[in-house]
Structures are given as structure tokens and as C-alpha cells.
């Protein structure tokens, strides 16, 4: 269990330490990629909680979503349509959905455990 947490820590540190400068026009891609990653992550957590977790789906979804979002934004920039808004919207909605589901699952779990403790 400690390895993924270590990975997260290393990733955070790397991000904070890196002095990379992304050009202004690519900041949109970055934000969409972040959103996609977060969405996939929360989707994975939800699936885990709902016992429908598939690591292949999770891994492929993670990278594919990021690439898709970035490609969509790229296409939007080149077509003159703000397609990245669509990606942000979709991922945002899904993110909220996932978090809501996670909350509910956690809540039901808690009430269940409390009831079992009471019983």
C-alpha cells in the first residue's frame, strides 16, 4: 500500500521542484490533463468502493482520458472552437458524480457499520 503513496509524494515533489515553464498557449492542455487525471482517479476509487474495479480499465482510462482531453483541446484551438470547455464540462460533471457516489457509498458503509456495532 505504501508504494502508490510514495509515488504520489514523489510526483508532488517533482512537480513543485521542477522549474519547467509551459508556454502560455499550452496551459489549457495542462489544466484539462489535470482534470482528466483527477476524474479517472476518482472513478477508480468509486469503482473500487462499488467492487467493480478493473485495473485494465483504470489504467487505460487514465492515459486515454488525458490524451483525449488534450487532443480535444488541441483540435478546438486549431478549429477556433473552445472545445476544451466541453472536456472541462464533461470531466467536471463526471468528477462531481464520482465524488457524490463515493460519498454516498462511504455514508452507507458508515451507517451500516454503526448499525452493526449497535446491534
Amino acid at each position: 500500500m505504501w508504494l502508490p503513496v510514495l509515488g504520489l509524494m514523489i510526483g508532488l515533489l517533482l512537480g513543485l521542484m521542477s522549474d519547467l515553464r509551459v508556454p502560455e498557449e499550452y496551459s489549457n492542455y495542462l489544466s484539462i490533463a489535470v482534470l482528466a487525471a483527477l476524474d479517472t482517479l476518482f472513478g477508480g476509487i468509486r469503482a473500487q468502493l462499488q467492487k467493480t474495479f478493473d485495473d485494465k480499465v483504470f489504467i487505460s482510462g487514465f492515459f486515454f482520458n488525458i490524451l483525449l482531453a488534450a487532443g480535444l483541446a488541441f483540435l478546438g484551438v486549431h478549429l477556433g472552437v473552445d472545445l476544451y470547455l466541453a472536456a472541462i464540462f464533461a470531466f467536471g460533471v463526471r468528477l462531481f458524480n464520482n465524488i457524490a457516489v463515493i460519498r454516498r457509498v462511504l455514508l452507507t458503509k458508515r451507517t451500516n457499520t454503526q448499525q452493526t456495532e449497535k446491534n
Binding site: L3, G7, S31
Partner: protein, 231 residues
């Protein structure tokens, strides 16, 4: 082993996510700082710089105008001075001519006064020779009619010259001149001619006094400067 591989993949994913999260956080932070803080400050700075430069420009412009005015004034003063000095120089030149300090050349008239060639036996010889008053008369007339320079027998006359009668000769500034007396004057020869020949004027009087008068207009007359002699 299978679980471990999965964990490695999860950790990789989390690493990527964490990296992206913190990176974008840092990035937006930087951007914010640049935009909201530095940019604003810079803009303000530049604006104030522009303002101060404009103020300075205005001040300098005023100064420049002041200087221009000063220069104009100075120029006018100098021009006036130049005019004045020019006038002075002109006047000095004229006065020098009159005073006789410079050699003069120009058109003029030559009047020669000669003793009468015929003197009757019964009369006084004195009445038939040229006297200094005749010479003076002619010289005065010439000066009155605008002579710039006058000379007797080639000797320049000036305002301090004296002409005396010393027996048969005339003493001009200490130099004795016998008859005939050639009086040359520089100026307008026509004016001299007309004024001298005015009926009842110099020529008539001279002729009446038994003096032989001859007048010649000359295109160029050269005169030496007046030499002051002691005594």
C-alpha cells in the same frame, strides 16, 4: 507478485497525477504572481515613469522656450549693436575722410586760382593777386556744397588747418604755397560747378577781384592724408 505489479502501475499513475497537480498548482501560482503582482507593479511603474518623463519633458520644453527667448533677445541685442557699430564705422569712415586721416580718391573738381596776368601800371598790384581770403572762400564754398575732402596744391586740408597770407605766398598749415593755387575737392563735381558758377557767387566775386579762375571736373582725384604739423 501480481499485486506488486499492480501497485507499481498505481504508483506510476499517482506519480503522474501528483506531478501534474503540483506542477499546475505551481504554474498557476507563478502565472498569478506574474500577472497580478509583477505585471501590475510593472505597469504602475511604467506609467509613473511615463508621467515623470512627460513632466520632465514639459519642464525641459519650458526651459527650451525660455532659452529660445533669451537667445532671441541676445540676438536682437547683438544685431542692434552691430547696426550701431556699423553706423559708427560708417560715420568714423566719413569723419576720417572729412578730418583727412585717410587717403581719398574719387570724382571731384579742381579749381585753380591764378594771379591776374594783366596788371595795369596805375593800379595797386595787391588788387590783382590771389589773396588767402579768396582761397578760403572757395574752400568754404566747396565744404558747404558737400566736399568730402579738399586739398590745396595737393596738400590735404582738415578742420584744423589754417590758411594765412604771408606776403606773396599763402601759408597752409605751415607750408608755403605760391600762386597759382590749385584747390581740389572730392564730391559731386556738378554740384560744385553749379554752386561756384552761380551768378554773384564765388566765380563772379573772384573775377571781380581780378583773379583768374579755372575749373575742371575730374573723374578721379587722389588725395593724400592730412599730415598734422606742429606750429
Amino acid at each position: 507478485m501480481k499485486i506488486r505489479g499492480k501497485h507499481v502501475i498505481y504508483s506510476l499513475i499517482l506519480l503522474v497525477t501528483g506531478f501534474m497537480l503540483s506542477f499546475s498548482y505551481q504554474y498557476t501560482n507563478q502565472e498569478d504572481r506574474v500577472q497580478s503582482n509583477d505585471e501590475w507593479k510593472r505597469e504602475d511603474q511604467l506609467r509613473s515613469q511615463i508621467l515623470s518623463i512627460q513632466k520632465e519633458n514639459k519642464k525641459l520644453l519650458n526651459e527650451l522656450q525660455e532659452k529660445h527667448q533669451l537667445v532671441n533677445k541676445e540676438e536682437e541685442k547683438i544685431a542692434e549693436q552691430e547696426k550701431l557699430t556699423f553706423n559708427l564705422v560708417e560715420e568714423v569712415k566719413k569723419l576720417r575722410k572729412v578730418v583727412g586721416q585717410v587717403p581719398v580718391e574719387g570724382k571731384g573738381i579742381v579749381v585753380s586760382l591764378e594771379d591776374s596776368s594783366y596788371i595795369p601800371e596805375s593800379k595797386d598790384t595787391n588788387d590783382y593777386i590771389v589773396h588767402e581770403e579768396h582761397v578760403r572762400m572757395v574752400i568754404h564754398e566747396l565744404y558747404v556744397t558737400g566736399a568730402e575732402a579738399v586739398a590745396i596744391n595737393g596738400q590735404r586740408i582738415s578742420h584744423i588747418s589754417n590758411i594765412n597770407c604771408v606776403g606773396p605766398v599763402i601759408n597752409v598749415d605751415g607750408v608755403k604755397h605760391p600762386a597759382p593755387f590749385v584747390i581740389s575737392a572730392i564730391g559731386d563735381p556738378d554740384v560744385f560747378w553749379n554752386s561756384l558758377n552761380l551768378s554773384g557767387n564765388i566765380t563772379d566775386q573772384l573775377v571781380n577781384d581780378g583773379v583768374e579762375v579755372r575749373m575742371d571736373k575730374k573723374a578721379t582725384i587722389q588725395m593724400p592724408p592730412f599730415i598734422e604739423r606742429e606750429g
